[in-house]
């Protein structure tokens, strides 16, 4: 599906501008070793860290990398047919996928494949909606504004997902090994950002060559904690 989208984007950009490069890299999360260690034992095995949610940084996935801001000319969709339609399925009282990046103007369908009723709603600024209790296909929602949308089920508090509404199509989710490839990026200097639902984002300036690759590696983590 992702590759399909990418291919579409590449085709689209390729038609517009011939000179394009590729961004490759990795994203991984890293905890502060010292802090982690202290949190587990020793003098920090105390109330201060008692209720801190332990994050296994090595196992974190679902990193999103994207170019901030607009890239080139944004063409508003003229026809509904051109509107990209994505889908987040409710199955086993879970939203799948958990993170879904979309380009502004895309639609998302919310089919409930469970036997029980679910509710889909969001109070996010970017897009607010409440689908009520239902089973079956439900109502699709269009996202016209860039930003983050947190989506929940009202009767199942553990169910949640995040929709990232982005301004350009040059984004990618990392694979299982944390690698990503974004092809056909028009040459230029961009602010390139790595995001994760639970970690502070990091961005770096990248220069995408006219031809070839640019490498961008990210290590996300909580930094700048007050020194103990």
């Amino acid at each position: 599906m992702r590759f399909y989208i990418l291919t579409l984007v590449m085709v689209f950009i390729g038609a517009d501008a011939i000179q394009a490069g590729t961004i490759v890299g990795t994203v991984r999360a890293e905890g502060k070793a010292e802090a982690e260690k202290d949190a587990l034992c020793g003098k920090y095995d105390s109330r201060q860290f008692k209720f801190v949610e332990r994050i296994n940084y090595a196992e974190l996935r679902d990193f999103l990398v994207f170019i901030e801001g607009q890239v080139g000319k944004v063409v508003p969709p003229e026809k509904p047919a051109q509107v990209k339609t994505e889908r987040i399925v409710q199955k086993g009282a879970t939203f799948v996928p958990h993170i879904l990046p979309i380009v502004v103007g895309s639609k998302i369908e919310w089919p409930n494949n469970d036997d029980i009723l679910h509710n889909v709603f969001s109070y996010s600024e970017t897009r607010q909606f409440d689908l009520g209790l239902y089973r079956g296909n439900g109502t699709p929602i269009q996202f016209d504004k860039a930003g983050r949308v947190d989506v929940f089920c009202s009767i199942h508090s553990r169910m949640s997902c995040v929709v990232m509404v982005l301004e350009n199509p040059f984004f990618s989710m990392t694979n299982d090994k944390g690698k990503f490839v974004i092809e056909n990026v028009p040459a230029g200097t961009y602010k390139f950002k790595a995001w994760h639902e639970r970690l502070p984002s990091k961005s770096q300036e990248i220069v995408v060559p006219e031809k070839g690759e640019v490498k961008a590696d990210f290590v996300l983590g909580i930094t700048g904690l007050p020194a103990q």
């Binding site: 029980i116 009723l117 009520g132 209790l133 009202s154 009767i155 199942h156």
Partner: protein, 763 residues
């Protein structure tokens, strides 16, 4: 006696020990029972209190538990997800609400969750149970009252029994978006072992939860006891036992106090409640240990007390026993017994008094005995003297009458003898005269026996008196074929006696012996006469080997007119006269004899001592040395003078004594210095003659000693010496102005020196 004494002793100890031990045992029993009842009551009260507290805390904890559950669950329907669920009619979709209720059950950690619609109370719209065995239907059925309560009061709680399981249930109403009542959520938490444990912690009592006769949960005992618990519980739950009583209970060997309580249930059916068991095993054990300690200590104390009492009793009775033994001995006449009790108490006093008493008794008895003895002797003497005195009166008369004819006989016979008669007649006359003289003497004897005669006393040689008596009888003795053996002490001191009377005594005794032996002669008669000094006495012993005296007669021989001779032969006066004379002299006469073995007469006469000599010089010579009138020794210059001669040579002693005796001196001899000094100390001597050179003390030493002990005699000391006198002796003699006779000296010389010395002294 011994047995009786022992019985008394035993009974005394028993008297003391038995009451003491009995008292102590009684005290112990009382103490133990008091302690027992007090402590038992105390810990019963404590246990009752504990149980009451426990019940209170069970009730309180139940209440708190219920309240907290209400608090926990009251807000459940207000949670957004449930609110959303119910508001949007999710409750009507079974799978959805089932999932939600499951989630709720898991999140809220309850055992059962039940949603009851307001439309249909009988059947749950949805339910979730942790246990498949739990029948939700049954649960629904028993929960109906609480659901109704929730509808009516806004909340409800209850304790319900479902399928033999106990649940605390809380029911809260569920409302829709416009506050319309949709139904009720009922959450049930099973009451089980955990709760029982919690309650046990809170109450520190064992707790058993029961419902309908079944044990739901128990903290006490194995499952085998559950039926027992159920039985006890049901006995509590019987109608009429409103007031919960405390009961004693023994389970598995452990002692408990027990009480029961009832849980509040909206459904009146079914007895749901609890049993509380408060163990008093520990205080019981403590009590037992206390009792054991008490018993042990008291037992020891009793033993110790008994021992102490026994010891004390022994100690107290020991002096009594000693007293008893002594009293017994004293009772049997042993006055030497003394009680040896040294304690300073009443017993000591008693012992001292007893000893004093014994002493007094002993003394009294001795006095009594001596008095009796004296009395007996005196009586005997009195009897004897009475006899003698009676006879004396008689004899005196007879003698006096005889004196006159005798005077005639003597006078005429003498006249006829002086007349011119034939020699043959002259010899006959002389015989008559002598016989008459003898008669006169007999008469004199009789008179002396009758105390008509004033006895004279003079220093007389007992030996001479004995010899003269034997001489007097020598003719008769010879004709009777009797030998007289004399063994006379040559140095026998003279005694102050009446020589006539004593001669009479010896004559009588010897003559008696002679007559006895003559009458009954089987062997040659021997009479042994012995004189000796015996202490301050002169002793004369006359022994014959005649027929002896019959024992029955021994005590009578000195009686007047007692005789064994034929009638006319003896007067029976002889020995009784002897007795009188000897006693007159302060002496003593006694007889020992056995029939057939001769007889022994012993006469003891006191020696003349110095005092007597001083007091009674008139018997011998007066102070001027002039002999009394009628004394034949008138012409002798030495009469009444005593001279001590000290020499180691027998011949010299004999010669000196002979010489001086002829002059009338009384001579004592000493063979050495020590005996001389002894004699000088005992007797008064007018003169001393001393050999200069002797074994032992010499003349000078004797003189020095004598000068200290007897200065008077030392001045009248004449030394005799056989040696040549050296210068030193001469000087000594000159200084002391002493005369020294040199051997050999003539008798004339000697007599002159003695006379000079005595004469010089007088001046």
């Amino acid at each position: 006696m011994e047995k009786l004494r022992r019985q008394i002793e035993v009974s005394f100890s028993t008297k003391v020990i038995v009451p003491v031990v009995a008292t102590m045992v009684l005290l112990l029993a009382v103490t133990v029972s008091i302690v027992n009842s007090r402590i038992t009551r105390q810990f019963q009260a404590e246990a009752t209190r504990n149980l009451a507290h426990a019940e209170e805390s069970v009730r309180k904890s139940r209440e708190i538990h219920t309240r907290s559950q209400l608090l926990r669950f009251r807000s459940v329907p207000d949670e957004p997800k449930y609110r959303a669920l119910f508001a949007e009619g999710g409750a009507n979709h079974a799978p959805t609400i089932k999932v939600s209720l499951d989630e709720m059950r898991t999140n809220r950690e309850v055992d059962v969750v039940l949603f009851t619609s307001v439309d249909d109370l009988k059947t749950a719209r949805a339910s979730s149970a942790s246990d498949r065995k739990l029948s939700v239907k049954d649960f629904q059925a028993v929960c109906t009252p609480v659901v109704v309560e929730a509808f009516e009061k806004g909340e409800g709680w209850d304790t319900v029994l479902v399928d033999k399981r106990l649940f605390d249930v809380v029911s809260v109403p569920v409302k829709g978006s416009s506050q319309e009542l949709l139904g009720a959520l009922t959450l049930g938490v099973e009451v089980g072992h955990g709760n029982a444990e919690d309650m046990k912690k809170a109450t520190s009592c064992e707790i058993i939860l029961l419902a309908n006769g079944r044990v739901i949960a128990s903290t006490a005992g194995p499952p085998e006891l559950h039926n027992e618990f159920a039985r006890i519980f049901s006995s509590y739950m019987e109608p009429g036992t409103e007031k919960v009583q405390t009961h004693k209970l023994v389970l598995g060997g452990e002692h408990f106090f027990c009480s029961a309580g009832r849980f509040v249930s909206l459904k009146s059916e079914g007895n749901i409640g609890y049993l509380l068991l408060s163990s008093y095993e520990q205080p019981l054990r403590a009590l037992r240990i206390t009792q054991q300690i008490l018993l042990g200590v008291s037992g020891l104390a009793i033993l110790l007390g008994t021992a102490v009492v026994w010891f004390l009793v022994r100690k107290v009775t020991a002096p009594l026993r000693a007293l008893s033994a002594s009293a017994e001995a004293v009772g049997q006449g042993d006055f030497t017994q003394r009680v040896n009790v040294k304690s300073r108490d009443e017993c000591g006093e008693l012992a001292a008094v007893f000893n004093q008493m014994t002493e007094n008794l002993k003394r009294s008895r001795e006095q009594l005995e001596s008095t009796v003895e004296t009395l007996r002797t005196t009586q005997a003497q009195l009897v004897q003297s009475e006899k003698l005195s009676g006879i004396g009166e008689f004899v005196a008369g007879v003698a006096h009458e005889l004196n006159n004819p005798l005077t005639s006989v003597m006078g005429f016979s003498e006249l006829l003898a002086r007349a011119d008669t034939e020699p043959q007649h002259k010899r006959h006359l002389d015989l008559i005269y002598k016989s008459a003289q003898r008669c006169q003497k007999i008469v004199q004897s009789l008179l002396s026996f009758a105390r008509r005669h004033q006895p004279e006393r003079k220093l007389s040689s007992i030996n001479e008196l004995v010899e003269s008596a034997v001489d007097f009888l020598s003719y008769q003795l010879r004709t009777s074929n009797i030998e007289v053996v004399t063994k006379l002490d040559r140095y026998l001191p003279k005694a102050m006696v009446d020589p006539h009377q004593l001669q009479q005594v010896f004559l009588n005794i010897v003559n008696n012996a002679r007559q006895a032996m003559e009458a009954n002669q089987q062997q040659k008669g021997v009479i042994r006469v012995t004189t000796e000094t015996f202490g301050r006495n002169v002793r004369v012993i006359i022994v014959d080997n005649g027929p002896g005296i019959a024992e029955k007669n021994l005590s009578k021989v000195f009686d007047p007119f007692f005789t064994t001779k034929e009638v006319g032969k003896g007067t029976g006066l002889g020995l009784s006269l002897c007795y009188g004379i000897v006693h007159e002299h302060g002496g003593h006469i006694s007889v020992r004899s056995k029939l057939g073995q001769g007889a022994t007469f012993t006469i003891e006469l006191p020696l003349a001592d110095e005092d007597e000599d001083d007091q009674q010089p008139s018997n011998g010579a007066d102070k001027d040395g002039k002999p009394k009138s009628g004394n034949r020794l008138k012409r002798l210059e030495g009469a009444g003078r005593k001279i001590l001669v000290i020499d180691d040579e027998e011949a010299i002693l004999e010669m000196v004594r002979e010489t001086l005796s002829q002059q009338g001196y009384q001579v004592d001899v000493a063979r050495d210095g020590e005996s001389a000094l002894r004699r000088a100390a005992l007797n008064r001597y007018d003169l001393a003659l001393c050999d200069w050179k002797m074994p032992g003390l010499n003349g000078e030493q004797i003189y020095e000693r004598l000068r200290k002990a007897n200065p008077a005699l030392s001045e009248r000391l004449i030394f005799i010496t056989g040696d040549v006198i050296n210068e030193k002796v001469q000087e000594f003699l000159r200084d002391q102005k002493k005369v020294c006779l040199s051997k050999p000296f003539s008798i004339v010389e000697f007599r002159a020196a003695v006379g000079n010395a005595l004469a010089g002294n007088r001046k």
